[in-house]
Symmetry: C2
Subunit: 201 residues, 2 copies
DNA sequence: ACATGCATGATACGGGTGTACCAAGAGAGC
DNA sequence: GCTCTCTTGGTACACCCGTATCATGCATGT
């Protein structure tokens, strides 16, 4: 077995070059040659490690998902009260800092690609949202049982609404109609509406 | 003045062919040749009526905006109580029937295009959301003054949140994670939460 | 009736795309 | 040492893209 270089490391290097291009110029600009140049390797290398472009696209998408999950776990930090967990999860999705802007923009690029395609990528890409929604609903239910949320609320529907709202807020920030801080304020307002205002006022 | 054919009609025919392709296959598949074939004309004709591709893209986007506005006005119908107006405006954006699916998908295709571009299209495209948000806020304020909405609510923020939520719900429907009816139910739930449950229960 | 100008067709050009092919180093196992 | 597989480079191919150019019909104004 000849293992002169670390295959996984090379793949990571190339895939992240793809993600960088998708972030800054959109996926339609992420040609094989552009990715090779961005990664500082030859076109042949990209072909060697990812036989086809679709393979590269899928691999990079999986890495993007991993990055987002890592960010969420980091934002949640030491697991605390459900309200704080929910706030952290939703906040860290909004494009407020450089990393979240990057992740959100790149996801948006992929989203457009998935729309007009035979849903080949669907199973790989549609997983995160639904599992995340379930996670949120579970946290909300816990808060509800702790009396922090009124018992008349349907936590499943609330979770769906919140996630959709954050998604839409992210789009508006990327579209330049709102700043990240404003989006965060809108989210905070609705969370206060749900849990009750913290103490001020 | 030689006016053998109706120019505006021809332009409409071609632009709508572009929108049809953007809907079904995404904007990256909407090449000049594809548009010409879809519209049943020669490539030269497309070039003749829209000198450049950017011009075609912009013109079609403007028409899409007009179509959405027409749909909204039709859904609002005879202007009635603010709650019904708000419900109509938000509901008609969700991809529940064929037309709204088409409009939403096409807008999503354009959205991705705008992201990675020099914001040439921004002024033309970013207008609708902000004006719509203002309109919603005004309706909500009227409802608030009529006592249908608690006076403690910040109607501006609520309008922003609702619009973002509908936007996000639309994305999830297009992504196949939810049906249009489910999205509509989530929206109805939150509107009930805001205005109070109608009568049932 | 003829000239003018709008409307349309066919084709060419330069460039970018994904993928395939051929060739050459380079360390591992016998 | 030889060989063989892994790794890398250079390049070619066919195709599609947006745009430009040349040429032709054909209705109309005078």
């Amino acid at each position: 077995m000849t293992a002169k270089v670390d295959h996984e490391e090379r793949r990571r290097q190339i895939a992240e070059a793809l993600l960088r291009i998708a972030d800054t110029q959109g996926l339609q600009s992420a040609s094989m040659r552009a990715v090779a140049t961005e990664a500082g390797v030859s076109l042949r290398l990209v072909q060697y490690y990812f036989t086809t472009k679709e393979g590269l696209l899928l691999d990079a998408l999986a890495r993007l998902g991993t990055q987002l999950q890592a960010r969420m776990e980091q934002w949640i930090g030491p697991a605390r009260a459900p309200r704080e967990v929910v706030t952290a999860v939703l906040s860290c999705i909004l494009p407020t800092d450089a990393e979240s802007r990057r992740i959100t923009r790149t996801y948006a690029a992929y989203y457009a690609l998935v729309l007009g395609d035979p849903e080949v990528l669907e199973k790989q890409a549609a997983q995160p949202p639904v599992v995340l929604e379930g996670f949120l609903a579970k946290q909300l239910r816990a808060a509800q049982q702790a009396g922090e949320i009124g018992p008349e609320r349907d936590v499943e529907v609330v979770a769906a609404g919140l996630l959709a709202m954050v998604n839409g807020l992210g789009s508006s920030v990327l579209g330049g109609q709102r700043t990240g801080e404003q989006a965060l304020a809108v989210l905070a307002y609705h969370l206060d509406e749900l849990f009750g205002r913290p103490e001020a006022g």
